[in-house]
Amino acid sequence: MKRKEMQADKILIDRLDLLRTVPGRDPQAAASGRENFLKQAEALGTSRSTHPEYRLAGLPRTSLFALTKKGGRPALNALVAIFLALVLVFGGTALTVYAAQDSLPSEALYPVKTLSEDALLSLTPSSQARLNLTLDFIDRRLAEISGLQSAGRPIPQKVVDRLQGELDQVLTLTAGMDNPAMAQSLDEISQRTHGQLRAMAILVNGNPGGPALVGIQALLKEQAQAVDLGKADPQWFRQKVHQLIPGGNGQQGNRSNKPLGNQNPTKTPETPGDQGHGHGHGSPEPTPGPGKGHGHGG
């Protein structure tokens, strides 16, 4: 019997051995997988590599890690330090605030985190600094969403709302700048948003059918479209932001129900390259995201 079992095991192991042979990996798919991984790494964290290959001129230098890890953005760290000092002075518990910085929306310390963000923003006088801070907060929201997703937890609506408020605030702050500053900011926002979209595409791919993720992806696409439109026509952008996002001036906006990214400039672009920026007002068709397909392959 024992011998029979051993023979059977030998047969089994031979059959398992069959699995060792697998067809070669498609080099294109492998290269694309590697590229996506590196883009995601770039989008999710600040690279500290000095290798020129990774000084990706066209890619955003988002700083999720910088917000939560040692050695992050000096400006933000300084602001956090100031804020912590103020909290200490006023008798609060700085440690709690510090500990809250890594918390997720479903956790007890999360309100402390959002309160500290609001406080930081209100202590920041310059529009440019507020814009940078808000862009970092958007990265934070997306990191939280990604964290919730990998933990298998639902994405609370309040996180999506806060993200939307921050996206609006970025537009409002930018619209309030003079033309050269606005152009520079729109470039920065555009880069960051496209990086965030790439990261979201990976998240959505890994969790097909998740309506919250798809909604967040749509928000980011809208933002990217609005920014692209702003780059093409700053004056129109300014007008539309003031029309559609009430309560600007650095307060978190409350976007009207008409997405800015789906609006056409009043001055219709005539160049072929400008075609396809959103739909006309009131178009019932869904936005196909012209020219911005992210190819959710696989």
């Binding site: 089994l12 192991i13 699995l19 060792r20 798919a29 600040t46 690279s47 939560t68 791919n205």
Partner: protein, 187 residues
């Protein structure tokens, strides 16, 4: 088992160095792809598994909850969990166990088709094991790891790994060979 360079690489990745992350991907993604391919049998799914494994690794690094050491064990664990989830989400594979079921005995199927059917049978049988049993079998007999490395991956003592192997082989014997083992022995 784990080389110093792996540990250094992981430390650099924890500091979010792109070069280290790229090296980790280059070092482990081919093997992870083969592992996923062996269990899933579809190139697209295997690519998805690899992408998701590295995605979760990045998220873990970002949250400071990534591996402190034994990166290989960590990555294989994530990949295996993804595959297990995939099995759960999808209808269990069927096992065409009886070779006598060929419709036309004279029409000899091409060798590749037969090979694919055999692969599917083995994969389907593996899908009926518990996730731990499946991983032990894969790592031991297909990936040919030693018990210590398997123990690290599953986070269990070596003795428990040996017991798992024994039980997994017994289950596989019942699933795969219950119909044909006897005849193999007797011929």
């Amino acid at each position: 088992m784990e080389s110093v360079t792996d540990r250094e690489l992981l430390q650099r990745a924890q500091n979010h160095e792109m070069l280290a992350l790229a090296e980790i991907y280059d070092r482990w993604s081919p093997a992870l792809y083969r592992y996923a391919m062996r269990l899933l049998g579809e190139a697209d799914l295997a690519e998805e598994c690899v992408a998701e494994t590295f995605n979760r690794f990045l998220v873990a690094l970002k949250q400071g909850s990534g591996p402190r050491d034994y990166l290989q064990a960590y990555l294989y664990r994530i990949a295996h969990n993804w595959i297990t989830d995939h099995y759960r989400r999808n209808t269990p594979l069927t096992v065409p166990l009886d070779p006598g079921l060929q419709a036309d005995a004279e029409a000899e199927p091409p060798r590749q088709v037969m090979q694919e059917i055999e692969h599917q049978q083995v994969r389907a049988a593996l899908s009926y094991l518990t996730p731990d049993q499946r991983q032990v079998i894969m790592l031991k007999y297909v990936e040919q790891w030693d018990n210590e490395a398997i123990a690290r991956t599953l986070g269990k003592p070596v003795g428990a790994i040996k017991a798992l192997q024994h039980r997994a082989l017994e289950s596989l014997r019942q699933i795969l060979l219950s119909g044909s083992a006897g005849s193999s022995d007797e011929t």
